[in-house]
């Protein structure tokens, strides 16, 4: 995944990473929603093209993305109402982010399946990063691993947080913001180093 694409994803989905509760269950649910919206929106754009409604494209895309978000929230209410209550504002953020990402997503593939698959693959690295991010926040901040469950979330306690209250900083919003900043800085550093090595390699080859 090249540098600018990574940044576009992080920038667009930033509030989702930082302002959601710091538990793995919520990260998992938000990631599911994000992937659902990306695939739904790419499939819908083919429908818009078929019905020749290109002049109303942005309104229809937005309306469909909002439909998917509200439908997802209502299905989440059926599974775990307290998670739907806690996420009741953050759940709109992936929707807006997916709309902002429509410039990087493609709908030029020949079939709907190919287009959706290509967009999903582009989003997959970001999805995995988000899952790892929430996992680290959960373990460091709360000392638990949580998963969605009927009528709440199930917790598997790993260690007592009383002993390491310092790490509970990562459960908070500024802690998450700092984690994102440090991760992004490390990735830029690594990419710069690799590009230097690559350039040196190609120079040696040409000599």
């Amino acid at each position: 995944m090249n540098k600018s694409l990574y940044f576009i994803f992080t920038a667009a989905a930033f509030s989702m990473l930082v302002c959601a509760p710091g538990r793995f269950a919520y990260g998992f649910v938000l990631m599911l929603e994000f992937l659902l919206i990306i695939s739904g929106a790419s499939a819908f754009s083919y429908l818009v093209k078929t019905l020749k409604l290109e002049n109303l494209k942005s309104v229809l895309n937005l309306a469909f993305i909002m439909f998917l978000t509200i439908a997802f929230k209502l299905v989440l209410v059926l599974v775990s109402p307290v998670m739907a209550l806690t996420l009741s504002f953050v759940i709109y953020v992936p929707a807006i982010s997916a709309f902002m990402l429509s410039s990087v997503l493609t709908n030029e593939e020949k079939t709907v399946k190919d287009g959706v698959a290509k967009n999903l693959v582009t989003s997959l690295v970001f999805a995995l990063f988000t899952l790892v991010f929430f996992f680290v926040r959960d373990v460091a901040g709360f000392g638990t691993i949580t998963l969605p469950a009927k009528y709440g979330i199930t917790e598997k306690v790993l260690f007592d947080v009383h002993k390491s209250a310092f790490f509970s900083f990562f459960a908070s919003v500024p802690g998450a913001l700092m984690m994102v900043a440090v991760t992004v800085a490390v990735i830029i550093l690594l990419q710069n180093k690799f590009s230097i090595i690559e350039k040196a390699g190609t120079q040696n080859d040409s000599e």
Partner: protein, 159 residues
């Protein structure tokens, strides 16, 4: 009618048709999820209330007509079998992100008490307490108090 008007009418028709279909599907989902919302949140509020005081639990859901019901639920507060006041579970956005917080108000008092947060553990749970002068908790106490007052007023008007 010439071709251009026909295509424009067809576009408007398909646009409206798509929107109508989306609304109908969503309305169906809303009605399917109503009982899960009420019962699930009642269980979670009961859990917090029992941590606060042993005999408290939730009764019937209050029919509050405000936009906040998408991220909150309001119940009658019961002590064994007697109605004691009102309870609310709201999404409170704090320094740790959004958390489901429970507030209660006893029948003859106008004071709203913060009963606890569902699902938070140990050192972070200690950050939230009724005695703290946390600005966020005080704001939500004030908000819940206004909602309960409006509900009481609507009951009186209804009678």
């Amino acid at each position: 009618m010439d071709e251009k008007t026909k295509t424009q009418l067809a576009s408007c028709g398909s646009f409206t048709g798509i929107l109508l279909l989306l609304f109908i599907i969503l309305s169906g989902l809303v009605f399917l999820s109503l009982s899960s919302w009420e019962n699930g949140l009642r269980k979670n509020t009961d859990y917090v209330l029992q941590g606060y005081s042993e005999n408290l639990h939730c009764g019937e859901m209050l029919p509050i007509k405000e936009g906040i019901v998408t991220s909150a639920a309001f119940y009658q507060l019961m002590d064994k079998d007697t109605v004691k006041g009102y309870a609310a579970i709201v999404r409170m956005t704090t320094y740790y992100g959004p958390v489901p917080a429970v507030f209660i108000q006893e029948q003859n008092s106008s004071e709203v008490i913060f009963a606890g947060v569902y699902g938070l553990r140990s050192s972070i749970n200690m950050e939230f307490s009724n005695d703290s002068n946390d600005l966020v908790i005080n704001y939500w106490k004030d908000k819940c108090s206004r909602i309960f007052d409006e509900y009481k007023k609507s009951l009186e008007d209804g009678e």
